[in-house]
């Protein structure tokens, strides 16, 4: 089992390395135009110089701040609204149409509006990342509460549990399962919100750098930034996956 999965990992790494090597050769020999697809070695050196000069850090800070604040606030707001809608039919009637509408459209189209309302600084990026996350978590919580297993509710009641015990033993755990299960997606959404917000209008952040690199036709820097953002999101994915497995260890079979 272990040897099979490690052999698969080796195969995947080899495939990736081969691809990178082919790209390097093609770009160096001029088979592809290095202006459009600079060789990976150039991309790496751009990345190194970004970090070595220290110029990247304020941008990293801006993007991470926007994404993490948006993520945190979005999760809290999504849980609060989801709870409110599940407990009160009036609130559900008010919120559901808005949320369904927001869920149906690509929410990033709101970015220009947020820039007009909140300016080109942090606030508009946080707002975009927050709205992306909030809608996701709202539906997770809302369906989570409505689809709580009624058998478990009855079980706890016949064992002598009251309202408080029901919330503690049944509602909160099944809710956390839904929310934690959506955390990975939420992390991706939060970064999308921050970067797209910066892309639209800003003076700092990875999205700003990306936009700048694009407007100067700097393919090397553009690719470097894309790789950088991917790397960060993958690390965060991995962290939330670990958190998920830790919190939901009861899900794993024997």
């Amino acid at each position: 089992m272990t040897s099979i999965s490690s052999r698969r990992t080796i195969r995947r790494v080899l495939a990736l390395l081969t691809l990178v090597a082919l790209w390097e050769i093609a770009s160096r020999t001029g088979i592809v135009d290095p202006f459009y697809a600079p060789p990976p070695s150039r991309v790496v050196s751009v990345l190194v110089s970004l970090f070595a000069g220290g110029a990247i850090y304020p941008h990293l800070e801006a993007t991470f701040l926007a994404a993490l604040v948006g993520l945190g606030a979005g999760v809290v707001l999504g849980i609060a609204l989801g709870f409110a809608a599940a407990l009160s039919p009036v609130i559900a009637d008010l919120l559901e149409p808005v949320m369904i509408l927001l869920n149906a459209v690509p929410r990033v189209i709101l970015a220009p509006l947020f820039v007009i309302w909140l300016g080109i600084d942090l606030a508009s990026k946080v707002a975009l990342s927050l709205i992306l996350v909030t809608v996701l978590i709202f539906f997770a919580v809302y369906t989570g509460i409505r689809e709580v297993d009624q058998k478990l509710v009855e079980r706890v009641r016949t064992l002598g549990g009251g309202r408080r015990e029901l919330i503690r033993e049944v509602y909160i755990p099944s809710l956390s399962a839904w929310v934690v299960g959506n955390l990975k997606v939420a992390v991706g959404f939060a970064f999308t919100g921050a970067v797209v917000g910066e892309f639209v209008a800003s003076s700092r952040g990875l999205g700003y750098l990306l936009q700048f690199a694009q407007s100067t036709y700097n393919a090397g820097q553009t690719i470097a930034l894309i790789v950088l953002i991917m790397a960060f999101v993958l690390v965060l994915f991995n962290l939330s996956e670990r958190l998920e497995r830790r919190l939901l260890r009861w899900r794993e079979g024997g």
Partner: protein, 250 residues
């Protein structure tokens, strides 16, 4: 211990149960049999207050929360370990965690699940989950136990073994039982009295039969008792009769 008087239950439209009367005396093992869809489960749900009857009522000699209820399915809290699941009712009653855990462990070993305390329900087989569900209810030492076809989903061997063990605990602890089942042989094998429910809608109690097989019982041995076949025959006739809708020739 328990008296059900004139219980009528409905969900809009024709009532499912109409004017059901039955009684479980202290220490008595009573079964309620009936065709599927006759509302047997509704009787139990009305007794525990999970279902509000249209009319009639339930008299219990004990508080409702002291009634043990063993459900048909084995839904345990998936996010709680086996031990925590068994200790749940004790914790609700304010028993301190360590003490509750110790009592849970004692019952886990009684139901043959010693050493499984730290597992999660998902890691158990159906029969094992059933054993945990039994421990979860019996750890509370309920004076009255309601059971809704608790072993229906198990294979015959596990089923017989669990029935025998459960019968042993019930006899030893003097627990009064109301068992709902559609299995006639099971009902006769374990009960002191069997009620027959007619076909719904508007199901009523058709008859009550005493089972004169001495205790303690062995589920398999009881089948050889002369009483067993006679009663089986009678219940069979009554039930096939009951399953025929009114007005249709049998």
């Amino acid at each position: 211990m328990l008296r059900v008087r004139g219980l009528t239950v409905g969900f809009g439209g024709a009532p499912v149960l109409a004017d059901v009367h039955l009684e479980v005396r202290r220490g008595e093992f009573v079964s309620l049999i009936g065709p599927s869809g006759s509302g047997k489960t509704s009787v139990l749900r009305a007794i525990t207050g999970l279902l509000r009857p249209l009319s009639g009522g339930v008299e219990l000699d004990i508080p409702t929360r002291d009634v043990g209820f063993l459900f048909q399915d084995d839904a345990l809290l998936p996010w709680r370990t086996v031990r925590e699941n068994v200790a749940l009712g004790l914790r609700f009653r304010g028993v301190e965690a360590r003490e509750a855990g110790a009592r849970a462990d004692r019952w886990l070993s009684l139901v043959g699940m010693a050493g499984f305390g730290d597992r999660y329900p998902r890691q158990l087989s159906g029969g094992q989950r059933k054993r945990v569900a039994i421990a979860q209810v019996l750890v509370l030492e309920p004076p009255l136990l309601l059971m809704d076809e608790p072993f229906a989903s198990l294979d015959a061997i596990v089923r017989t073994r669990l029935t025998q063990e459960l019968l042993g605990w019930v006899e030893r602890e003097g627990i009064s039982v109301l068992l709902v089942t559609h299995d006639l042989e099971e009902a006769i094998g374990v009960s002191d009295a069997v009620y027959v429910l007619s076909q719904g809608p508007g199901a009523r109690i058709r008859a009550r039969h005493e089972v004169a097989i001495p205790r303690p019982r062995d589920v398999l041995e009881s089948r050889r008792h002369p009483e067993f076949d006679t009663l089986l025959r009678r219940l069979w006739d009554e039930l096939s009769d009951a399953s025929t809708p009114a007005g249709e020739p049998a």
